[in-house]
Symmetry: C2
Subunit: 182 residues, 2 copies
Amino acid sequence: MSLPHALLGLLAVEPASGYALTKAFETDLGRYAWHAGHTSIYPELGRLAEQGLVEVTAEGPRGSRTYAVTPAGRAELRSWLLDEPAEHSRRVRNEHVLRMFLLSALDPADARVALGRIAENTAAGAAELRRVRAAHADKPLIGREGFGQLAAEYGLRQYEAARDWAIWAMTQIDDNTESVGR
Amino acid sequence: MSLPHALLGLLAVEPASGYALTKAFETDLGRYAWHAGHTSIYPELGRLAEQGLVEVTAEGPRGSRTYAVTPAGRAELRSWLLDEPAEHSRRVRNEHVLRMFLLSALDPADARVALGRIAENTAAGAAELRRVRAAHADKPLIGREGFGQLAAEYGLRQYEAARDWAIWAMTQIDDNTESVGR
DNA sequence: GAGCGCATGTAATATGTTACATGATTCA
DNA sequence: TGAATCATGTAACATATTACATGCGCTC
């Protein structure tokens, strides 16, 4: 369960309301790393506050509450990021990768079509992240301003690798079916 | 919810019991693409059978049931793999990527340590997949024998890209803190 | 015949998702 | 003043995890 750490991380960069955090999960963070809706976020903030990892530092209009990390919360975040990932973190759930695994269940012609689509989609994703990177090119990499920049570069490289792979896989299938056909 | 498709994909390659499917999720598939335990798998097989997407083709010792995909199941799998991914499939949950996002919440020295660890781990992962690839080098890429080979190559490339990124990110942080320090 | 692994299941709990609901504030 | 967005919440449902439970079959 990484939602509490995601919240601590966001709040460590800048205090925010549950609503603002919800918005953050709708952009890059939720798209590439971790998704959550407001119905998960609000109760989790309550639990973090109970544990003393965050606290309400301000109350604004419309009943909004601004949360900030406490020193204990910052320590928890730090040790989570610096400790070795636990065994259970290996329990991945990634629909895109699953599709790549299951490609072997298709016949070669269908697999080729699916790979072509993957190549298109990953190329489009890479292009989008190149725009994100360009828009933040002048900001520092660490801290408030740079939040997510390292991750954007990471995503870009992953997309590029995925696209290269898809093209490679298509040629592999072509070579394979050709030699079988002979 | 991709579990039904994961099961259809595995059964499309080869009929199997729930127990055997559970084992499959404990190896590469569960490690890189999608994880599930037997308490999810058995009920899901029941639902798929109700829907006519799989059927029991044999019953063996100890009450074991061998499931196989029906033509309807194969059609469902095919269209899932060939259709555009749905909007909700973007709802990723990947703890590793989350860590990379949250790196910006650390101070530069800590971020460097975390990146060094990521570089180590991804290098180890790449090495492991190179062994997997070598062990299957002589098998075809599509169908029963090749199951997961394309995915293994994909994983290898992702690991390599992640490692390159981590090393790049460390140099970026070094350059950055150096220039600030001046 | 003892122990291990096969093979399936139930039940309790935790977590996540969807739909529904409410009211405040801002801005045009 | 009407619409959009802010801001939080509840409830029902679906899904996933953990712990518990049972019995068969194979091998030594």
